[in-house]
Every structure is written in C-alpha cells, then in structure tokens.
C-alpha cells in the first residue's frame, strides 16, 4: 500500500519527462498519454482512499520513505512521503480536477501546435503539486512549492510569443519567490529551533518552543502562503497570470496551486496554535484579501480577471478560517475543496465561452450567450449559484461555516471578522451576478462590437493559429470540453451537502487538524439568515445595475473606487513606482559605480603606475653626460648623507 504513494507522484512525473524530452513523434498521442497518466494517478489516489477508509480514524496516516536526500552532519532531509487525511483530500482534489482539466484541454488546445508540451507542463504541475501535499518534511514540501511555481511560470508564459504573457509569467515567479524566501527562512528557524524540519518532530514538539520563535516561524510561513495564494500584499501576480491558457487558470490559479498556502497553514497548525500573534496576522491577511479580491472582481471587464479577483477573495476566506485555529482548519479545507469544484467549473465555462467567441475576454462584448451555449450556461450557472452561497449548494455550506467561525472568534475581533466575511459574501454575490448577467443575459453586444476588441491586440492568443475569422459565431464547445464542466458542476452542487452530512468532512480531518466547536455570540441560524440576506442584497444590487439597464459596450469612466479597482487598487502602480523604477535606478547606478568607482580604483592604480613610469622613462635619455650627472649627483648625495649621519 505504502509503495503506491510514490506512484501518485511518479506517474505524472513520468508523463512530464516523456512529453518534454520526447520528440515530435509524440505530437499525435502526447495529450492522451498525459491525460492517461493523470487519470492513473487519480485511480491510485482513489485506491489509497478506500484503503484508508477501511482503517480507524487515527490509524490512517501512511508513510513511505524513498531515499535519504541530503545527509549532512546534524542535518537530515529525506525524500519521504506522508499520506494522511489532509494530504488525501488534496490528492483527490488535485488528481480529480487535474484529470478533468486534462480532458478539457484536449479540446481546448486542439489547434495549438505545441499541445504536447502543454500536456507535459500540466503533468509536471501535477507531480509538483502532489509532491507538495505528500511531502513529510518542509524541505521536500519546498521542492514541490517551487516546482508548482515553475510549472505555473511555464504555463502562464505558454504563449511565449506574446510579450505580455512572458512578462506575467516572470512576475508570477518573482512574486512567488519572495514568498518562497519566507518559507526558506521558516525552515531555517525550524532547524535552529528543533534541529529538524520534518513534520512529525517539529509539529509534535512545537509546544516546547518559545512563543517568540513560533511567532517568527508562523509569520514566515504566512509570507510564503501570501506569495503562493496571492494574498495581500503579494497578490499582484494573480490577475496577470490570466495570460495563461484558460485550463491553466482553472487548474493552477483557481483550484489547486493557489490554495497551497491554505494547506501550508493548516499543515503547520501546531505552530500557529502556539503563536496567537501569528494567527492574528493570518486572520488579518485573510480578511483584507477577501475584501480586496472582491472589490477588484467587481470592476474587471475581463471575465478571467474578474474570476481571478474572486479566487483571491475566496482564498481570503480560507486563510481567514485557517487563521482561526482548530476552530477553522477543517472549514478552510472544506471551502478549499468546494471552491476547487465551482471555481474550476467557472473557469472552464469561461474558457468555453472564449472558445466560442474568438478568445474574446471582454464581458462587455458578450451578452445573451445562453441561447448559443446551453451546456456552458447551465454548468456555469450552477457554479455561480455555488460560489455565491445559494442555499443547498456547496458554497453555501462551506462559506457559512467560515462566517460562523469568524463570529466565533469572540469579542470585537469576532464582530469585525464576521462582519467582513458577511460583507464579502454580499460583494461576491454582486460581482458574480454581474459576470453572469453580462455574459449570458442581455443584448447580444458581440453582434455590433468587433471581437476581439481591436484596442487590445495582445489578449488574442491563438485565433490566427486556429484560422478563425474575426466575426464571432458563438457555439457550444465539443463534448470533450463540456463533460468535465458537467462533472465539476455536479461537484459544485453536491459536494457541500455531502461534506456537511453528519459533519463527515470535519470528522474525517479531525485526527490531523483537530477540531473544536466555535462559540459564535449569536446563534447559527442568525448567521445563516444574515448570510442569505447579504446574498440577496448583492444579487439585487447587481441586477439593478446590469440586469435592468443595457450594459454599455465601452466601460464608463466610473467613480474613483471603480477606477482604482480596475487597476488592482493601485498595487501595481505602487510596485512599479517603488520596486521597478527604484530597482532600475539602483542597478543602473550600481553598474556605473562598478565601472567607475570599484573598477576605476583598479584602473586608476594602473594609470598611476603607467604615468609615473612615463615620467621616469624620460630620465633615460641616452646621453652619457646625463648619466654622469646623475652618478655625480648621486655620489654627492651619498657623501653628504654619510657626513650628515656622522655629524649627528
């Protein structure tokens, strides 16, 4: 059984190696190979899952030690896997959603000449992500952590001929690296505190360490989580990451990779439990981001960027829940899983819409598409209902729990957090309704407006490759694309209820994450009612603004907040002004310094010697008399010196 854990990672890794190193011969079958290996990994995961179900709750964790990785004195790092309930949840999510998206990509990337490589990168991502959640120590987790960053880099920049894609990829990697540095420092701290960074010894002994140490480790882990999960202040890369092909946005930048931060915090729960200050920081980051993402999501006209803002905001919910400690870990993961379903479904739906609309992403050039794409409409609609928390659907259960737990934090903090979470729920309902109305309802604006929009030539990646004409003919996507959407829609509808049934999800995770009931100041019913009221307000506001009136095809100027939100609340402008411009000046001046000052000192020494010898050379003029004079002078000086010394 244990040896199967290696297969989980190995299968997609093999696929990546074969697809990326194999030649053009694989072009015709490569995508099937990639999909097959992803599916194989899912099947292995399912087998392990059912094996795990057969054992008692606290006997479910499995270990698999593969080899000793970096053995140095006093430093032990192994390549070893740990599969417990938390990892298992992720394994199923990653391989399940991953396989569906592989299938979807077969259709979506059909006309791309580099499809083999795309599947190679997708498999690489799966392998790295599985490594991340299966590692039994923080260093191996770090390998997966940067591995998913690499896969994300490669996939965001997949259409490398677009400068915007290449820039977005680089930005994503760099911002992530800042977070990675945090993870590295956290590992250093663990090593100096515990002498180890394997989960078991560190987490078991976390209680012995001083609170200061735990807080430092916790804050560094939070920095890492911020980078990977696009939380404030390291969130700026996620919107740009939408340059990647849509299946990538669905898999990496919605369902799995960006939730790695939540995994990290939940996994390190024992550390955070001993560091209330760090937990507070986590909660604040989560709360700020959930509002930040939601506000940005309201202003974007690009369907993918609106969904990206939403992703940020939903992960904010998860981080918030994870920051609440044992009260929230299980809910964070639960929301993570349901979010994986509905957000992946929404992105695939968006991809399907773009597929039928010449890769147009501007929602102002959509409208009335429900007639032309019925399957997409229904699946997208179910995902929409799930994310806004429509009662009975999965988002309702998972988000409601988090809001409840936020109120349960107690005191003023509880009220603030709960209030923010409620407000977030209302805004979520608003921007998602906006997306829904602008895309599927209203006038058919694409009949009058040219798509893709001529003023944004760079958003159009592959229409020329696909040989399509500029005039859109909205159509339903092929079965290979709609089937994954349908499966995900079923998940979005049912997952929450299944998880909630008899608290099965909480009980499942409890041996790993622990669980305690929160005590909200008001009863659960009141919270639920408030959530539903928030939902209604949000939907209503969006309907008033976009449903009753025609949507202008060119975005109105908007008020100050809207304009700021369109620019990601000026975070990028800040980054640009401070980091990019400042950095450019710094490097330029350093290059100048190096040439003129540091190297100048060296060259100056050389020049000084050169000039001196040039002077001295003149003494050697070749006239015997001159030499005689110098000899005579020298003798005179010597004699004088001797006499002087005598005299003194």
């Amino acid at each position: 059984m244990e040896s199967l854990i290696g297969v989980l990672v190995g299968a997609p890794l093999l696929g990546a190696a074969v697809l990326l190193c194999g030649g053009k011969a694989l072009d015709r079958a490569g995508h099937w190979l990639g999909t097959l290996l992803a599916a194989a990994s899912f099947v292995v995961g399912a087998v392990l899952f059912f094996g795990m179900l057969g054992r008692a709750g606290d006997d479910r964790a499995m270990h698999s030690h593969l080899w000793s990785w970096i053995p140095v004195d006093g430093f032990r790092a192994d390549v070893a896997f740990q599969l417990d309930q938390l990892s298992m949840t992720f394994v199923l999510l990653i391989t399940g959603v991953g396989t569906l998206i592989h299938v979807y990509s077969i259709g979506y990337m059909e006309h791309d000449e580099r499809r083999r490589r795309f599947f190679g990168y997708l498999n690489l991502f799966l392998a790295a992500m599985l490594l991340l959640v299966l590692a039994d120590n923080f260093l191996l987790l770090y390998v997966g952590w940067e591995g998913v960053g690499l896969a994300s880099y490669l996939l965001i920049g997949f259409w490398q001929h677009k400068p915007s894609a290449a820039t977005a990829a680089k930005k994503a990697f760099l911002v992530n690296r800042v977070g990675d540095a945090g993870l590295a420092i956290a590992i250093f701290l663990m090593f100096t505190t515990f002498g180890s960074f394997a989960f078991a010894p560190v987490l078991a002994n976390a209680g012995d360490a001083s609170e200061g140490k735990l807080t430092a480790i916790g804050l560094m882990l939070l920095l890492a989580a911020c980078g990977k999960s696009a939380q404030v202040p390291l969130q700026s890369w996620l919107g740009d990451a939408m340059e990647g092909p849509t299946p990538v946005s669905a898999l990496i930048h919605a369902a799995t990779m960006v939730t790695a931060g939540v995994y990290l915090i939940t996994r390190s729960g024992a550390i955070f439990n001993g560091a209330p200050d760090a937990q507070l920081a986590v909660v604040v980051v989560g709360a700020v981001t959930l509002l930040f993402g939601a506000i940005v999501g309201c202003a974007k006209d690009d369907i993918k960027k609106a969904l990206a803002g939403s992703t940020m905001s939903q992960i904010g919910y998860m981080i918030l829940a994870a920051g609440l400690g044992p009260v929230g870990y299980a809910f964070a993961i639960m929301h993570l899983v349901t979010h994986g379903f509905f957000k992946a479904g929404l992105f695939l739906g968006a991809g399907s819409v773009m597929h039928g609309m010449n890769d147009e992403v501007d929602m102002r050039r959509y409208g009335g598409l429900r007639k032309y794409m019925p399957v997409t409409f229904v699946t997208f609609g179910l995902g929409y209902l799930a994310i806004i928390g429509f009662p009975g659907l999965s988002g309702f259960f998972s988000k409601d729990q988090i809001i409840e737990a936020a109120f349960g934090k107690g005191g003023t903090q509880g009220w603030i957090l709960g209030g923010v979470a409620l407000l977030g729920a209302a805004i979520t309902a608003y921007y998602m309704t906006r997306v829904m109305i602008m895309t599927f309802f209203g006038e058919e604006r694409w009949r009058t407006e040219r798509t893709p929009s001529p003023d944004r030539p760079d958003v159009e990646p592959a229409a020329s490759v696909r040989g399509e004409h500029a005039e859109p003919h909205p159509h339903e996507s092929p079965g290979v694309m709609t089937i994954p959407m349908i499966v995900l829609a079923i998940g979005s509808v049912a997952a929450g209820a299944v998880f909630k049934l008899g608290d099965s999800f909480v009980n499942w995770l409890e041996p790993v994450t622990q669980f305690e009931h929160g005590h909200p100041p008001v009863s659960a019913t009141v919270v639920t009612t408030a959530t539903i009221v928030a939902l209604v307000i949000g939907v209503g506001a969006a309907w008033l603004q976009y449903g009753r009136r025609p949507v202008p095809a060119v975005a109105p100027r908007g008020n100050l907040l809207t304009r700021a939100a369109r620019r990601d609340l000026l975070q990028d402008d800040f980054n640009h002004a401070v980091l990019v411009t400042g950095g450019t000046h710094l490097t330029r001046s350093l290059v100048y310094t190096d040439n003129k000052v540091v190297d100048g000192a060296v060259n100056g020494t050389a020049a000084a010697f050169g000039g001196l010898s040039g002077r001295l050379r003149r003494v050697q003029n070749g006239f015997a008399r001159t030499y005689a004079v110098s000899m005579f002078g020298g003798a005179a000086v010597l004699i004088a010196a001797t006499l002087l010394m005598r005299a003194v």
Binding site: T193, P201, V327
Partner: protein, 548 residues
C-alpha cells in the same frame, strides 16, 4: 611504494597538452580529438580517484611524498581529502565539455592561411595544461607546491583569454582584440598582485616554522601536527598577517567583492568555453584554498576575520546579483551571477558550521556544472547570432526550442530551483549560515529573489516574445555536438539535485576535519528533537483553545 595515482591523473593532461601541441598544423581535427580523448582519459582516472577514496579512511588519502628542494624543506607532497577528491572530479568532468563546446572556437580564420599558423593546437593544449595545473593545486598538500601551480595557471589562462577571444564582438574585430588584450592583462596583473602577496606570506610561513621547529617546512600535515602538539605556536599578529596574505590571493582568485572586477572582463572577452574554464574550474581553486589553507593553517586568524569576510560575502551576493540584473551583455551577466554565487560559497566556508562548509563544497561542484550548462548553451546562442548583447535576441524559443529549453534549465539551476543540484548546496549554505549568523542568513536569502530576477529577465529578453530579426528566424536548433554537451550537463543537474548523497558522503568527513581544525562545533538547536522514528507521530489532542 604504491601507484602514484594523483601524479598520473595530473600528468595525463599535461602529456595530452604536449601531444596536442605537437600535432602538425594541417591536422587540426586530430588535435581536437587528441584533446578530447586525453580529457576523457583524465576523467576516467579522476573517477578512479573518487572510487578509491574511502570516506571512512584517513584525512588525506592516495598520498605521495618526495623530497624536492631539500634545503628549503619543499616537498612534492600530494594527497586528497574528500573536498580535494570531488574538486578533482569536477575539473576532470568539465574539461571534456569545455573541449567539445570549443570545437570550432579556435579554427583559424580565412585570412591566415599560413601552414605554420596553429591556433587550434595551441588552444586545446592550453586547456589541457590548465587542467593539469588545477589538478595539482587541488591535490597539493605542500604549500609551496600549491603556490607554484596556483601561479603557473595564470600563464596558459592569459593566452587563452588574450589569444582566443570571442569573435562576436559588437565593436568590430580590432576593438575586440584590444578589449581582449585589456581583459587578459587585467586578469594577469590582478592575480599576480594577489600571488605576490601570497608569496610573501608563504615565505613568512617558512620563517615561522624554521624559527620554531628548527627546520622550515611547507607540509600541511607537518604543520598541523606541530600545531596540535603545541610545538608550533604563532603569535596572534603573525598569524593574522599570514592569513591575510593567503586570503587576499584567494579572494582575488575567487573573486570576492571588491576585487572582482577582472572577472566580468575576462569572462566577457574570452570564448564561452574559456569563460567556463575560468569561473567553473580555475576560480574554484581560490575558494578551495580558503577552505584548505586559510582555515587549516590559521584557524585563529580565520575566526578573527570571519565578521569582515561574511560582510564582504554578503556584499558580493547582493552586489553581484544586482549588477547581473543591469547587464546588457549575456556573458557579463553570467559573470556577475558567478560573483554572487562565489559570495555564497565564501559565506558557507566562513559560517563555520558543518552544513555551511559541506554546502560550500557542494556549491563549488554544482555551481561548476550549472554555470557550464548556462554559459556553454549561451555560447552556442552567441555563435549563432554573432552578438553577445541581450538586445540583439528575442523570440529564440520559437525557432530553437531545444536550445531555449536547455538554456532555461541552466538558468533555473543558476537560480537554485529545488530539484536541481545547486538548490541542495545553496540551501545548506543558507541554513548553515543562519544557524550561526541569523541576520546574515536572512540577507543572503534575499539573493535568491534577485537570482530569479536576473535569470528570468535574461530568459525573457532573449528567448520569448516575437521573433525580432531575420537572423533569428534562420537560427538552427542545437546540433548533435552541442546536444552532446548540453544534455549530459542538464542530466547531471537533475540527478545530483535528487540524489546528492554520494557526494555528501565523501565530503562530510573532510568537513568534520576542517571543523575540528578551527575548533568549532555546530550551534545546537534550542529545543533539539531526539532522533526518533518519523513514523509514530500522532498530534497531541488540543485541550481547549484559548478563545473559549
């Protein structure tokens, strides 16, 4: 008398150099094959050295010792510890790649048809000569013997830099020759200056030993024994002065900020294979010698100098990385990146922890391989376009995907992506530094962010985007010879990244010896976790939260 394996390993490339130089002018290809075969044979011998080295055996193994200049106590003494063994293996490993990558770099141009003109023979003979000298430097356990080869290396390197420059020079042939000769002279003078300071220190060391032991000696082992038995004690000031003499020479060679400025010129003007020779092989003698001679001979002074050295290493890391970001020339960019990496190596050495020093040793090896991969592929790229300026490229990925792919892997190794070899060493250096000097560890960690910046900027500007120029449109992908260079290096990066254990096993005992030389032990973790089975962990039940 056992078989003098180390002497033979060092002599073989020397013989190869003579043989290659003797190949008639018209038989250029024969000279190339001769060089390749000799370098491969040396690799086999180096592998034997590595295999014969017993990690559990004595400190120096495969030793040879003969009287040489008896009057001054100079002996021909060779021997390797684990660090020396892996460094010899690295040298022998990289030379065949350097030779294969430089296959056409020294073909005489059309304008010199004279039959007596033999640049090709000279080029490859010089490379083999450098290899021989570097191997002796890594194996010498006699300070004077080391000094001679440390300095002698400059001569062939001078000719390699000055005589065989990069044809791809933006400013034209004549200007290129001028800058090349400037770079070569700068390289020579810089290193000679360091060497002379070291010579003074070598003489000083002799004087000290002659004064205290009766007979002067240069033998590392004798000096170490005399020190441990208390026969030889150095006055603090003497020790510090001697340490500085050695350290300055090695810092110039390494190179450490602020005596680094020769490297960008030398690497920029030399051909890519020679640039690899400089940074991946010759410079490593500097860092290696810090570990063996500075720490081994002058532990007290090393301890005294540590704060300054660590500060300089940190400056090197950040300064090199920032300057790499600002470069417009691909090869100079790699040069500044190397300066940053040498900062990491020196940081690891002077952190005085077993992780740091083990990491620094591995870093020397892995940096050699990763820079070779990046620089050689960059050389292929440059030779296709006839320019080294980043701005002259763009969109190469589309026309030459394999070239771009190997370039990316080399770049990712340079930014220490986990899973590739340099990560292992960089992490060890950082963790080792952090455990003794937390602030230095954190500052150095910022270096990994900058590394990502310069590598990805380079990749973005050269490889991605639309194809900018017709010259790029016609660019061929890697040819068979080039693949034979790039693929094994990339494979090594991956394999060693996942499975560095064979190397760490050889290096660990040597690091222990060095640590005992400097009388240091690793800082203990504050709450050490007892060594225990990983597998029986159950989280303690959390008994009630604090928010109830």
């Amino acid at each position: 008398m056992s078989f003098p394996l180390l002497t033979v390993t060092a002599a073989l490339p020397a013989v190869g150099a003579v043989a290659t130089a003797a190949v008639p002018a018209a038989r250029r290809t024969a000279a190339k094959w001769s060089a390749l075969l000799f370098s491969l044979a040396t690799l086999v011998l180096a592998a034997v050295v590595l295999a014969r080295f017993d990690p559990d055996g004595g400190r120096y193994q495969l030793t040879e010792s003969h009287a040489w200049i008896a009057d001054f106590g100079v002996r021909y003494e060779l021997g390797v510890d684990g660090i020396g063994a892996v460094m010899i293996a690295l040298t022998a490993l990289l030379i065949p790649f350097v030779v294969a990558a430089g296959w056409h770099d020294a073909d005489p141009g059309e304008e010199r048809p004279s039959s007596r003109w033999r640049p090709t023979q000279g080029f490859f003979a010089l490379i083999l000569a450098v290899e021989a000298m570097v191997i002796v430097s890594f194996a010498a356990t006699d300070v004077f013997l080391f000094y001679i080869f440390f300095e002698a290396m400059l001569i062939p390197m001078y000719f390699l830099i000055g005589g065989f420059g990069d044809r791809a020079h933006a400013a034209g042939e004549d200007e290129g020759a001028k800058q090349r000769s400037y770079a070569a002279v700068k390289f020579l003078l810089y290193n000679l200056a360091g060497g002379l300071i070291m010579l003074a220190a070598v003489v000083g060391l002799y004087a000290v030993t002659a004064d205290q032991l009766g007979t002067g000696t240069f033998s590392l082992q004798q000096i170490a024994e005399a020190r441990s038995s208390g026969e030889l004690t150095m006055a603090t000031t003497t020790e510090r002065l001697l340490f500085l003499g050695f350290f300055v020479a090695f810092a110039i060679k390494a190179p450490l900020w602020p005596v680094h400025t020769w490297l960008p010129n030398a690497m920029g003007e030399a051909t890519a294979p020679v640039a690899v020779l400089i940074t991946a092989v010759v410079d490593k003698v500097g860092t290696f010698a810090m570990l063996r001679f500075c720490l081994g001979l002058f532990p007290g002074a090393s301890d005294w100098a540590t704060p300054v050295v660590i500060a300089l290493a940190l400056v090197s890391i950040l300064y090199g990385a920032l300057l790499a970001v600002g470069q417009r020339d691909i090869k100079r960019l790699v040069a500044y990146a190397s300066i940053s990496h040498f900062g990491f190596i020196i940081l690891g050495i002077f952190a005085m922890t077993s992780q740091g020093q083990g990491g620094a040793t591995l870093y020397m090896v892995f940096h050699g391989i990763s820079t070779a991969a990046l620089m050689l592929v960059a050389g292929f790229l440059i030779s296709r376009r006839g320019s080294r300026l980043i701005a002259d490229f763009g969109g190469v990925q589309k026309v030459a995907p394999v070239l771009a792919g190997t370039f990316l892997v080399g770049g990712l190794a340079t930014l220490s992506l986990p899973g590739l070899a340099p990560f292992v060493s960089e992490f060890l250096v950082l963790v080792g530094t952090f455990s003794r000097y937390p602030v230095a560890g954190i500052v150095a960690t910022a270096g990994i962010i900058l590394a990502a910046l310069y590598v990805l900027l380079l990749y973005q500007r050269t490889m991605t985007g639309p194809v900018k120029r017709p010259e790029i449109e016609k660019m061929p992908d890697l040819r068979a010879r080039e693949l034979a260079v790039a693929v094994p290096l990339v494979a090594l990066l991956v394999v060693l990244g996942l499975f560095p254990k064979p190397l760490t096993e050889i290096v660990n005992p040597a690091v222990e010896h060095t640590m005992s030389d400097v009388k240091k032990t690793d800082p203990k973790p504050q709450r050490p976790v007892a060594e225990h089975g990983w597998f029986d962990y159950k989280p303690a039940r959390h008994s009630g939260g604090e928010h109830e």
